[in-house]
């Protein structure tokens, strides 16, 4: 199925939910949903026999940096408001079609429901998104840092306003 057909199927299935297709300047089209209905949509495309997306290829997190840019007392750039985005890349091994789903969460309190009960591979992808961007996945059984040290307390490194700390456990970080 093409993304258009998948979109129409979802649109018929959930009549009062707002979803739409978006396309960036380059790359493939993707379906945009809001985070409060994300779980419903994922459940549907996982379990509907016509769609049957049985393989979660990747969860990417992106800092949109579309909030208000301010300076703190030390002159460092900080971003207030705006969104962080999650992209779910899914593939169906039986139907041989794929899709990308985007959802944008509030930057100040980013939280989405976990997808670990639908795809086991969501476990580490969600931990990585939490580690790098600080997005909380509600219902995740083991949501802790995966790449950075467990006692890292200097923030989330892939956010656009991240500042590299001077020291980590007596180790100097800057060159």
């Amino acid at each position: 199925m093409t993304i258009k057909e998948i979109f129409d199927l979802l649109k018929n299935r959930f009549e009062n939910i707002k979803i739409y297709i978006e396309k960036f300047e380059v790359g493939e089209e993707y379906i945009v949903v809001s985070p409060d209905v994300l779980k419903q949509i994922l459940q549907e495309i996982r379990n509907n026999p016509r769609l049957h997306f049985d393989y979660l290829m990747c969860i990417s997190s992106v800092d949109d940096a579309n909030g208000e840019i301010k300076k703190d007392e030390n002159g460092n750039k900080i971003i207030k408001g705006g969104t962080l985005s999650l992209y779910y890349h899914l593939y169906s091994t039986t139907r041989n079609h794929k899709i990308a789903i985007k959802t944008s969460v509030d930057r100040e309190n980013p939280a989405v429901p976990t997808a670990i009960d639908l795809w086991k591979s969501a476990d580490w992808h969600e931990r990585e998104a939490f580690d790098m961007m600080g997005i909380k996945f509600e219902g995740h059984p083991n949501l802790k840092r995966i790449l950075m040290p467990y006692d890292w307390n200097a923030g989330f490194p892939l956010r656009k306003d991240f500042i590299t700390p001077e020291y980590y456990n007596d180790l100097k970080i800057p060159y």
Binding site: L147, M148, P149, P157, F162, T164, Y168, N169, L171, K172, I173, P174, Y175
Partner: protein, 186 residues
């Protein structure tokens, strides 16, 4: 006939063997050498390497160990226990998370121990020098380094050259003499 004559010569004559600043005297069945020089010669000829790799440099290190370049020619064999290893080749990016582990491994090695810093990452942070929030900018910030091998990653020839440099350094060490000198000073 020739070979027999040479053998006779070997048995009957004392042969002097000069290797730069060292003198070994070969007599039939007896080798005379300074204890310090003999020990350092033995130590440099069997450097056992602590088995671990951190990044893409480790692939080059493995290829140096393999048959084409053959680390074993120089007496280097990988050793899985730090207690039995003589040299640690830090091959790759030292992340902050890994740094404490490397320090523990170094402390577990028995003296005398040596460290080769292989590649740009281990030497100075390499490509992560500016935006590497997770990288220690040089392994020499946590453990002392004997030889630095530049390159990203260095070719096996470069690592071999670094190893030979380390061997030359070990040749010049006089551990027994230093020990006695220290005793006298006390």
């Amino acid at each position: 006939m020739n070979t027999i004559n040479e053998k006779d010569n070997l048995l009957n004559n004392k042969i002097e063997y000069n290797s730069k600043d060292k003198n070994f005297y070969f007599e039939p069945g007896v080798i005379i050498a300074k204890a310090d020089e003999l020990f350092s010669w033995a130590r440099k000829s069997s450097l056992w390497q602590l088995t671990f790799g951190l990044a893409c440099c480790a692939i080059e290190m493995m290829s140096t160990s393999a048959s084409n370049y053959d680390f074993d020619r120089f007496g280097v064999i990988p050793r899985p226990s730090p207690r039995q290893a003589d040299v640690m080749i830090v091959s790759g990016t030292v992340t902050l998370k890994m740094a404490s582990r490397i320090k523990i491994l170094y402390e577990q090695m028995s003296e005398p121990k040596y460290v080769i810093s292989m590649g740009s990452c281990a030497t100075c942070g390499g490509p992560y020098w500016q935006h590497g929030y997770h990288v220690l900018k040089g392994v020499d910030r946590i453990i002392p380094v004997d030889v630095y091998v530049p390159g990203c990653p260095p070719r096996p020839e470069a690592l071999l050259d670094g190893l030979i440099t380390l061997q030359k350094k070990i040749e010049k060490e006089y551990l027994l003499k230093e020990k006695n000198d220290n005793k006298r000073n006390i």
